[in-house]
Every structure is written in structure tokens, then in C-alpha cells.
């Protein structure tokens, strides 16, 4: 651990007894936070626990109702982010605030551009950017346009932007939520580099593993209340999880042994192109049987996304067969697959999973609006639709915050996912495809999602799980198929897999199945 750099004598941030009220609702109820020089401090809490509210007060976006904020021992009144920046605080938001068509350099110096007379001095700007990126070991291409670089790179640009403005204290809001596993490793290395240089970092997250890997201390918030601050080295992930949700969380998925039945999904010699017209699935074979979960492990970009798109009918393949219960759904409309037994939890819940402007109840009938009892003679029947929604909300623990009529777009990510799962599981099809089903969810919600996926398996359904979370693949799958370069290169029983072997095979070092 990196605690060697922490200087316990110099608290750079102190938030004392912070209370923030919105009307009669208390979002932060007496929260304390102390961060020292050279420290990585995690703020842990469930979705909606008040982490972002706390950080937005530190960054001058919100004003505390009561309580004090001290920076370097001096009490500070922050009215806007400008004040926070002047005090040496920088924030990298979860959704980046970059100008897409501008270059990296232009984005970093934006607002504080070096000038020559009245003209911009872009040569100087570029020099400054290169210099600062070298100093902190954040390699970037200063001339690349933001729209052309990866999400991980964009995040580096955001961090450099804050450093360029003289930040000594960095707030990272859910920094790993859109990164690939490799990028996460790189980010953690960058964070360690920065604290070595005397910076302090506050990281907002609900991912326990990353806290264990990166943070020195962790402050836990639950339902707006301060639960405590712990030395990360002295606690386990399980301790953190139960402090966060207020009950014991099981990571181990209960999965009785079960003999799989006949083949439901049979993919034969599938080929398809990606959006650039390059062949990305290259002769792939795959089978999923009743009562088993087949997990697809692989590094992003090896064809798993396109594979699922072809199975669900969203992408046309070039050749091959996709048999579902013996019916070929290859290159048929999504509806055809659905009618023949395919249901799926899509990777992008906001793009494919939900109509965000629609109410929860309308989203719950997305494939079934045309069937009785939800409609009769093409007229929607509001009463059964409403009853179905009330029932699903209760059964699937969706927390709609008031009404079944609320637009899906106003729900939190976890609840949006629950709406999709409620819908797809209740469709009760023979094949369930789940793509990154727990992305961005907190442990409580993850536990719940896993339970429903395993339930489907136990009920004798075939489940195809595609996930970039190796832990998820290993804990859920009966069989793990490793995908590399558009083919399944290895197929191993779930119980026998270990992370190292899988990692090697995912990188192309595997044996041919």
C-alpha cells in the first residue's frame, strides 16, 4: 500500500460536521472528512448516499447548510468552483467536461491560455502541457483531438486539466465507471504517482476492490449519515460492504449443482463485420444448454459485443447459423428472435434497454404492449398495465420514488437496470442474454442482479453472460468460454478457472478448444 507518502501532520482538507439540506430532506447529516497530504482517501457509499453532494460542497458547487470546510488549516467559504480552484482543489467529474473537436492541448489550457500580445501562444501552451504530462507520468498525445481518443485518455486529459490549474487536491468522481480493466490498472498507477509527488486524492466510488488496491483511508457514508473512517489495510472488502449497505452482503453466489439439459442456443461458424467493415467475429462456435450459465470472458473488442448483437438481431452477420431451440434466427429482426425464445439485458441500458421518456409502467411492457391483457383491439388497457407495474416494482425491488408513472430517465442507474431485469425475466424466455448486467451498480444491487440471473438458470433456462468483470464471470458461470480475436479459444468448467489462466487466454495465450 502507498501509505508511505501520507504526512499525518498536515491535513489538507477538513470538513467538519457538514450538514446539507434540500428543503426538509437532509442529504448530508453531520459528515466529517479529514484528508492529509499525500493521501488517497476513498469516499464509499451506495448510489444516492450523498457522496457527490459532499464533494460538490468541497468543490463550491453547493453551499453547506452548516459545518465548516478547512483547506490547509484555513477556514474557507466557497461560493463557486473558482474559489475551490484558487484553494488548490481540482475535480474530475464522472461525465467528462471536454470540448470534443478541440485538441488535448486546447482542452487543457482552456480558460487559462498563455498569450502573446492578444494572440494565443499555442506553442507555449503545447510546451506547458508536454512538460506537465511528463512530470506526473501521464502520457498523452497533445495534438490528438478529444473525439479520437479513448475514454481512459480523456480522463487523463481531465486530470491534467486540474493539475494545470495548480490543483494539489484532486477529487475523482467515480473515475473507473467507464474504464476497461487495463485502464483501471493504469489509473491506479497514476494515482500512486501523484501522491508520491505530494498531491492528495479523494476518490468517490462504490467499487470495493479498487479501494483496497488504491486507497489509504476510506470514509463511509450511508443514507446521508457519517458511518466512519477506516484504515483500508485493516479491513476486508466484506467489512467495507457491510458498513456501506448496513447489512451483511454475500459475494458468494449460491448455486446448486445442476445437470444441464438440451441445447437452447447453438451458434455455428458465425462471421460478422464491425462498424468499420472489418471482420470481427471469425468463425465462432458456441452452445448454451438448459440450466447452465455460459460466461464469455474476453478483452473488450474481441467480438463479444458484435456476437450478442447478431444473436439478438441488431446486427447482420455475413455467414453462419444462430439456432435457438432449433429455429435459425440468424439475420432476422429482433422481434423474430424474441418470439422464438430470446430475451436479453442489453449492455447499454439507456440506449437499448429503456425508452427514457416513457414511464416505468410503459417500459415494463416494451415487448408486450400489443398482447392481452395490456391491450385489447389495439387500445392500451391502463389498469392491467398499472397492476403489472405495481407487481413488478414490488417483486423486483424497484424503487420508483413515488410513482409507476415516473419517467424511466429519472431513476438511478440501479433502478433502471432493475426495470429491465424485471421485464426480461418475466418474459420468461428459454434464453437470457445478459451483457455487463451489473455495470455501474453498487454491491447491494449487484447481489440482487446475480440472484435473478442464477434463478433463471435454476429454473432450467439457458443463460449467456457477457461481462468484462472477470469476478462476475467466475462466480456465476457453469462454463467459461474465452473469446479472442472473434473466436472461442477455450472452454473451461467454471469451477476450475483461475484469474491468471483466464487472463493469459484472454490475451491470446490460450489453447484452442
Amino acid at each position: 500500500m502507498s501509505k508511505q507518502y501520507v504526512d499525518m501532520n498536515t491535513p489538507v482538507i477538513e470538513m467538519r460536521n457538514i450538514v446539507k439540506k434540500f428543503g426538509d430532506f437532509t442529504a448530508n447529516d453531520g459528515i466529517n472528512l479529514t484528508v492529509h497530504k499525500g493521501e488517497i482517501h476513498a469516499i464509499l457509499g451506495e448510489n444516492g448516499a450523498g457522496k457527490s453532494t459532499l464533494m460538490n460542497q468541497l468543490y463550491g458547487l453547493l453551499k453547506p447548510t452548516s459545518g465548516d470546510i478547512l483547506v490547509n488549516g484555513r477556514k474557507i467559504e466557497m461560493n463557486n468552483p473558482r474559489d475551490a480552484i484558487d484553494a488548490g482543489i481540482g475535480m474530475v467529474h464522472q461525465h467528462f467536461m471536454l470540448v470534443q473537436p478541440f485538441t488535448v492541448t486546447e482542452n487543457i489550457v482552456l480558460g487559462t491560455e498563455p498569450r502573446k500580445g492578444i494572440a494565443l501562444d499555442m506553442v507555449k501552451a503545447r510546451q506547458n502541457v508536454v512538460e506537465i504530462s511528463e512530470r506526473y507520468g501521464l502520457s498523452i498525445d497533445p495534438d490528438a483531438k478529444i473525439e479520437d481518443i479513448s475514454v481512459g485518455m480523456q480522463q487523463r486529459v481531465e486530470i491534467l486539466k486540474a493539475l494545470y490549474r495548480g490543483a494539489d487536491i484532486l477529487i475523482l468522481d467515480e473515475p473507473t465507471s467507464s474504464l476497461t480493466p487495463q485502464e483501471i490498472v493504469e489509473l491506479i498507477a497514476i494515482m500512486h504517482n501523484l501522491v508520491k509527488d505530494g498531491k492528495s486524492i479523494i476518490i468517490i466510488t462504490h467499487k470495493l476492490k479498487e479501494i483496497k488496491e488504491s486507497a489509504d483511508f476510506c470514509t463511509i457514508i450511508r443514507m446521508g449519515k457519517y458511518i466512519g473512517t477506516v484504515d483500508v489495510d485493516t479491513v476486508t472488502e466484506n467489512d467495507l460492504a457491510s458498513m456501506m449497505v448496513g447489512r451483511n452482503v454475500t459475494f458468494k453466489v449460491d448455486k446448486p449443482p445442476q445437470e444441464p439439459g438440451e441445447v437452447v442456443l447453438d451458434v455455428k461458424d458465425l462471421h460478422c463485420l464491425d462498424y468499420r467493415g472489418v471482420e470481427i467475429v471469425r468463425g465462432l462456435d458456441l452452445q448454451v444448454r438448459r440450466g447452465e450459465i455460459v460466461g464469455i470472458a474476453g478483452i473488450d473488442g474481441n467480438g463479444q459485443t458484435e456476437l450478442v448483437e447478431v444473436i439478438t438481431g441488431l446486427r447482420r452477420g455475413t455467414s453462419g447459423q444462430v439456432l435457438v431451440n432449433g429455429v435459425d434466427v440468424f439475420n432476422k429482426a429482433p422481434n423474430f428472435g424474441f418470439k422464438n425464445g430470446v430475451s436479453s439485458i442489453p449492455a447499454d441500458r439507456q440506449k437499448h434497454g429503456l425508452v427514457l421518456d416513457f414511464s416505468i409502467e410503459d417500459n415494463l411492457i416494451l415487448q408486450n404492449y400489443g398482447k392481452e391483457p395490456y391491450s385489447k383491439k389495439s387500445v392500451l388497457q391502463r389498469d392491467p398495465i398499472f397492476a403489472h407495474a405495481t407487481d413488478s416494482i414490488e417483486k423486483y425491488d424497484i424503487r420508483p420514488g413515488g410513482s409507476e408513472k415516473r419517467a424511466a430517465g429519472t431513476l438511478s442507474g440501479g433502478n433502471q437496470q432493475k426495470v429491465i431485469i424485471a421485464r426480461e425475466v418475466q418474459n420468461d424466455k428459454d434464453l437470457l442474454i445478459a451483457v455487463n448486467p451489473t455495470r455501474g451498480l453498487d454491491v447491494g444491487a449487484i447481489e440482487y442482479v446475480h440472484k435473478y440471473i442464477v434463478d433463471q438458470r435454476n429454473k432450467g433456462k439457458a443463460v449467456l453472460l457477457v461481462s468484462f468483470e472477470l469476478d462476475e464471470i467466475m462466480s456465476l458461470s457453469d462454463i467459461i468460454d474465452v473469446i479472442f480475436d472473434g473466436q472461442i479459444v477455450a472452454s473451461i468448467p467454471g469451477g476450475e478457472a483461475n484469474e491468471n489462466d483466464l487472463g493469459l487466454m484472454m490475451a491470446g495465450g490460450g489453447k484452442k478448444a
Binding site: K20, K21, F22, G23, F25, A27, N47, G48, A49, G50, S52, T53, N56, L61, L62, T65, H93, M223, G224, T312, L314, A333, P334, N335, F338, S344, P346, K351, H352, G353, L354, V355, L356, D357, F358, D362, L366, Q367, Y369, G370, S375, S378, V379, L380, R399, G401, G402, T410, L411, S412
Partner: protein, 374 residues
């Protein structure tokens, strides 16, 4: 929320209030122009009001409003379903001409047969005009806005061409079609009009417009068709994922929208015009429809009211020259109203960017509160 909300925040959250204020601002700008021209604001606006509040004046307003309402519904329907029907103008012209051809060539048919036949011809004409554009879009990805604007001109010249065909063209010297058969007219009986003191073109087309309003509302809010079209309009990816045929939905939406615009053309012809002139410029009903849909918030009943408002402005505006004010003043007022309705969209976007972080925080807090209460 403890923070006092600013006036602008309240306005941007309340669509109705916002539109009302836009309308007031429109009149305010109109007043400035009147003042610059040295005319009396009170006299001009007084005239505007008195000319539409008498029974006869109001009957004019209703007659003027009929095509505006129906074309407004056409555009509003397209907004709801995610396509922007800027081609209502062309669909209106085609529908109007289709109704005229039927009314002239089959003029001998009895009223009960001829009138529905004319409506049907107009709706088919408008629908076809919309579906062609939809086909170009779904088949080859041609931007519908561009092809619609071009199709407006195709409709324009097609209508002029048909008006020139001997069987259709007026027997007299007028550069227009023959008058439509009396059996195709929706005018109220002359004796009744005189007795009640209504305008000479008083017709029952308004009943059709009201029926269309209810029907559109029913389709959008109550049917599986409306569900499909709205789903495609607001997220075509999720709609497709859910098994809805996206291309078919776009064609259906444009077909219905076009049929409404075509119906507007028929109502205008059969209730007011009586014949179709050879155009020298576009008549602008389609564009009026866009304004009406905007003012009516794309809500069918809002469109009904907005159509009457627009009718009142057009009719009242035509009386302005009696007090020496130019009729074009109405264009200034309408232009300003649309400007302020549209600018709020820009303004809201700006505000959204500025306060996104703040709002996110408040949302998160609200969600947490609700989950706590649960």
C-alpha cells in the same frame, strides 16, 4: 428547496406560462413597431380585438382556424413521433388538389357520398406525399427535412400543372380550377348563415377539425400504435430492441401526419376556397401548421386552441389597414412569438449545461430521500 426560485426558472418549468409570456412579448414588440411608425398602439390592438369578438368576426376566426388546426395536428403528430414534418405544406397542396379533382370530376354524386370521397382522396394524397419522403429516408437514409422541402415545390408545380388540364381548368378567364361541385361544399345553408349573422364562408369543417383533434389525442395516448410511434420517436434503438419495426413506424407516422395535412387542404377548399388558384407563391399553410404546433406544445388540444388563436390573428390582422396599420404587423407578432418559444429551448440548454453538476447533485439527493422514505 430553500433557495428562492427565480422568475425565469418558474417560467421555464411551466410550458403554459412560458407560451403566454412569449405571446405577450410578441404583442409588445408589435407595439414597438407601431409606435415607431407613429401609429396608435391602442387603436390598432383595439381594432384587432373588436374585429374578432363580434359573432360575425368570431365565425371568421373559426373558419380561418380550420386548416390551421388540422395542419397543426399534422405537425404536432410528427413532433410526437420523432419526425419533423416540414413537408405539411406540400401534403396540404396535394390533398387539396386531390379533393378538387374528385369534387370537379365526380361532382354529380350526392353530398353524402361525394364529401367523404373528397376527404378520403385528400387524405390519401397527403399520406402518399408523406410516405414517399419516409421511403426515401428509410430506404436510402435521405434526410427527410431536405426531401420534404423539395417535395413542397414538387407539389406546388404539380398542383399548377393539374389546374391547367382542360378538364379541371376554369371555363372562364380565371387562372384557377373550375369551382367545385356544390355537392362537395361544406358551407352551412345560406339562409341559416344570414339569419344567424355569420360570415358568408361559415362551414361545418370545424366539427371535422375537432373530431380530428380527439382522434389524434386518442391515437397518441391510448393505442398501441401511439405507443409504438412514440417509442420510436424517443428512442429508436430501444424500440427496435423491444421488437418494434422502426422503419414501418416512421412510414406510418409520416403517412398519418401527411393524411392530416391533406385533410386540412380539403377542408380549406370545400369550406372556404371553392377552387384552387394557380399559385404564384407557396400559400404557407404548412408553415402556419408548424407555428400552431409549437404554440400548442404539440398537444392536440393545445393545437386546437393555438389554431383558433392563429386564426384570430390572421383575420384580425386583415382588418388592421382600416386604422392605417400594415397587415404585416401580424407577421412581426407571430415571428416574435415563435422566436421566444424557440429561444427558451436554447436558453434552457445553456442553463442546463451551466447547472448540470448542481442539478445532478440535487437529483441524487432527491433520489436518496425517496429511497430513504421507501
Amino acid at each position: 428547496m430553500t433557495k428562492k426560485r427565480t422568475f425565469l426558472e418558474i417560467v421555464s418549468e411551466n410550458r403554459f406560462l412560458h407560451i403566454l409570456i412569449s405571446i405577450l412579448l410578441g404583442f409588445l414588440v408589435g407595439a414597438v413597431f407601431l409606435a415607431i411608425m407613429g401609429l396608435s398602439v391602442g387603436e390598432a390592438y383595439g381594432r384587432l380585438i373588436t374585429s374578432v369578438t363580434s359573432l360575425k368576426g368570431f365565425s371568421y376566426v373559426v373558419v380561418y382556424a380550420i386548416p390551421y388546426i388540422v395542419v397543426g395536428l399534422s405537425v404536432a403528430f410528427s413532433f410526437k413521433t420523432g419526425v419533423f414534418n416540414i413537408g405539411a405544406e406540400g401534403q396540404f397542396v396535394v390533398g387539396s388538389m386531390a379533393a378538387a379533382v374528385v369534387a370537379i370530376l365526380a361532382g354529380g354524386l350526392p353530398k353524402v357520398v361525394l364529401i367523404p370521397l373528397c376527404f378520403l382522396a385528400a387524405m390519401i394524397g397527403g399520406a402518399v406525399w408523406g410516405i414517399i419522403v419516409g421511403f426515401l429516408k428509410t430506404r436510402w437514409g435521405i434526410n427527410e427535412v431536405l426531401s420534404m422541402i423539395m417535395f413542397n415545390w414538387v407539389a406546388f408545380y404539380l398542383s399548377n400543372y393539374i389546374a391547367g388540364i382542360p378538364a379541371i381548368h376554369s371555363d372562364g378567364t380565371a387562372e384557377a380550377t373550375k369551382n367545385i361541385s356544390a355537392n362537395a361544399s361544406t358551407l352551412l345553408p345560406t339562409a341559416f348563415i344570414n339569419r344567424a349573422g355569420l360570415c358568408p364562408t361559415a362551414n361545418w369543417g370545424i366539427l371535422v377539425a375537432i373530431a380530428a383533434t380527439i382522434l389524434v389525442w386518442f391515437i397518441i395516448e391510448k393505442t398501441t400504435l401511439g405507443y409504438e410511434l412514440k417509442a420510436v420517436g424517443s428512442n429508436k434503438f430501444a424500440a427496435e430492441y423491444g421488437g418494434i419495426g422502426v422503419n414501418r413506424s416512421i412510414l406510418t407516422a409520416l403517412g398519418i401526419s401527411g393524411a392530416l395535412a391533406g385533410l386540412g387542404g380539403a377542408l380549406q377548399l370545400m369550406g372556404m376556397g371553392g377552387r384552387i388558384s394557380v399559385f404564384s407563391s407557396q400559400e404557407g399553410f404548412g408553415f402556419a401548421g408548424i407555428v400552431v404546433a409549437l404554440i400548442g406544445c404539440s398537444n392536440p388540444f393545445g393545437v386546437l386552441i393555438a389554431g383558433l388563436f392563429y386564426g384570430a390573428l390572421t383575420y384580425g390582422g386583415s382588418k388592421l389597414n382600416l386604422v392605417g396599420a400594415p397587415t404585416q404587423l401580424i407577421s412581426v407578432i407571430v415571428g416574435t412569438v415563435v422566436f421566444f418559444i424557440a429561444i427558451s429551448v436554447i436558453f434552457e440548454n445553456l442553463k442546463r449545461i451551466r447547472s448540470r453538476a448542481r442539478r445532478n447533485a440535487e437529483n441524487a439527493a432527491r433520489k436518496a430521500k425517496e429511497e430513504q422514505q421507501k
